[in-house]
Amino acid sequence: MFRISNATGGYGKTTIIRDVALQVAKGEVVALLGRNGVGKSTLMRYATGLIPPMGGQVEIGGQIAPPTPAKRAKLGLGYVPQGRFVFPRMTVTENIAVAAASNGHSARDAVAEAMADFPMLKPKANDLAGGLSGGQQQVLALARALAIRPKILLLDEPTEGVQPSIIDEMAGILKRINHERGIAILVAEQDLDFCLSIASRAYVMEKGSIRLETDRESLKADKALQQQLLGV
C-alpha cells in the first residue's frame, strides 16, 4: 500500500539515508526505531517530498508518488512532523479547516469530526494554535493530518515533549483511527513503550539504513537488541 524503495537522500551534497526500503500494508501500524541522528526524520521528509530525492521512489496506494508534497498529500499521505509545526497565528479550527479545504474536503465536516475525535481541542477551538501546550499542539497536528483523509499517516516523534497522560491518550486515539478507518501508520519514535503499544512490526535504522526488520513479539523479548539499538 505504502512503499519506499531505494530511498537515497539528504541535504545539499550530504547523503543521510542510503538505499532505504520499507513498506506498510493497508491498515498496518509500523514503527521506525533508532537512536537520534540515524536518519528517521530525513526518511520521513523524503517520503513527503519535502527533500528532493537523490534516488529511489515512493508509492502511495499502489501509485508512484508525484514529486511535490502537495500532490502527495492529495494522494493520501498525512504527515505529522517532529516539532509539530502547527500554523501558530491561525486558530485551532483554521488549522484543521485549511488542511481539509486544500484537499477538496468540506472544512466544516473535518472540523466537526476532529472535535469529536479529540474532545480536548473543543474548548480551544478559537484559540491561536501558537498558544497551545506542546501536547495540545501535537494533538492538533495529528487532527490536521487526519483532516486530509489520509491512507497512510507518517508520525515523526509524536511523543517528544508531550506529557505522559497525553501520550497514553494519543496511543488510544491512534489505535482507534487505525481500527475504525483502516488508516495505515508509520511512526518514527525513540519511545519504545509507545511503539510497542501500537505497532505490530518495526524497522530499526542505523547510520542511514534499515538494519533489521522485526515484529512486536521478538522486539519485546529481545532485551539485548533493545539495549544495543535504542539505549533503553
Binding site: 511535490t68 498529500a73 502547527v86 497565528r89 485549511v98 486544500s102
Partner: protein
C-alpha cells in the same frame, strides 16, 4: 478658528490618509504575505489608471472601468510573478532590483504608448460646504472607499479558503505544502491580488490623480514608507501609518493630492 475650519481640516486629513491607504494596501498585502517588496507597485497603479482611462475613453462608464483595471493589473501581475518573482523568493534585494527593473520597463512602455501628457477625466464636480469652507466631494468619498478596501482585504484573509492558505503558507511554508497547499499557485494569486489592488487604486484615484507615465514614482515612495513604518504584518498598522503620514501633510496642498507632497 471656528469649528467649521477644524472639521474641514480633519476631513481633508482623513481623506488624504485614505488616499494613501488605498494606494498602499496592495503593497502591504504582497510584502506581508510574501516578503516581497514590489518596487513596481506604483507602475501597477499607473497601469490601473491607464486601463481605466482607456476604457473610459472608449465609452465605458467610469464606474465600470474600475473592474476592468483590476482584471488587467491582476493578469499582468500573475504573469510577472510566474516569469520573474517566482525565481527570487527569499532573496529580498534581488526582488527589489528585479521589480525596480520591471517598473522602468512599464514606465517606458507607458511613455511609448500614451506619451508623457494625458488628459485626466476630471473630478466629478460636486462639493460639500462646511460653514465658510467648501470641500470637493470625490476625495471625501475616498474615506469610504479606503474603509471598504480594508474590510475587503480583512475578510479575504480571514474568511476565505484562499486567505487561510495564504496565511498558512507564510507561517509554515513546508507544512503548508505537506498538507496539500499548492504554494506556488497561492503565491501567484497573492501577487496578482496585490497588483489588482494597485490597479484598483490607480483607477479609483483617477479623478484626483491624472494618469501619467511617471505617476508611479510619486506614489511608490509614500506607499513604501507606509508599509515599512507599519511593519510587514498587519493591515491595521498600515491603516494607522497611512493616517499619520497622510494626515500630517494636508496643509501643503489645497486638495489632498498625492502628487504635491
Amino acid at each position: 478658528m471656528g469649528i467649521d475650519y477644524l472639521a474641514t481640516v480633519l476631513l481633508s486629513s482623513l481623506s488624504s490618509a485614505s488616499i494613501l491607504l488605498i494606494a498602499t494596501i496592495g503593497l502591504a498585502v504582497v510584502f506581508g504575505l510574501m516578503g516581497v517588496i514590489n518596487l513596481a507597485h506604483g507602475e501597477f497603479l499607473m497601469i490601473g489608471a491607464y486601463s481605466a482611462l482607456t476604457a473610459a475613453q472608449m465609452g465605458v462608464p467610469y464606474i465600470l472601468s474600475i473592474p476592468i483595471a483590476v482584471v488587467v493589473t491582476m493578469a499582468i501581475g500573475a504573469v510577472v510573478e510566474m516569469l520573474i518573482i517566482r525565481r527570487l523568493y527569499g532573496r529580498i534585494f534581488d526582488t527589489m532590483l528585479a521589480t525596480w527593473g520591471i517598473s522602468i520597463v512599464f514606465y517606458q512602455l507607458a511613455v511609448l504608448i500614451f506619451g508623457t501628457v494625458t488628459p485626466g477625466i476630471g473630478m466629478p464636480q460636486y462639493s460639500i460646504r462646511i460653514g465658510a469652507y467648501s470641500l470637493a466631494g470625490y476625495p471625501l468619498l475616498m474615506i469610504g472607499v479606503a474603509a471598504l478596501m480594508g474590510a475587503f482585504v480583512y475578510l479575504l484573509m480571514t474568511r476565505t479558503v484562499y486567505g487561510m492558505k495564504a496565511r498558512a503558507s507564510i507561517q509554515e511554508p513546508e507544512m503548508a505544502q505537506a498538507i496539500g497547499i499548492e504554494s506556488a499557485r497561492v503565491s501567484t494569486l497573492t501577487f496578482a491580488i496585490g497588483c489588482g489592488l494597485a490597479g484598483f487604486a490607480g483607477a479609483v484615484l483617477l479623478p484626483i490623480v491624472p494618469a501619467t507615465p511617471s505617476m508611479g514614482f510619486a506614489f511608490v515612495i509614500k506607499a513604501f514608507l507606509t508599509v515599512v513604518v507599519a511593519g510587514p504584518v498587519t493591515l491595521t498598522g498600515s491603516a494607522l501609518t497611512a493616517l499619520g503620514l497622510g494626515g500630517g501633510r494636508v496643509d501643503h496642498c489645497e486638495l489632498p493630492h498625492l502628487g504635491c507632497g
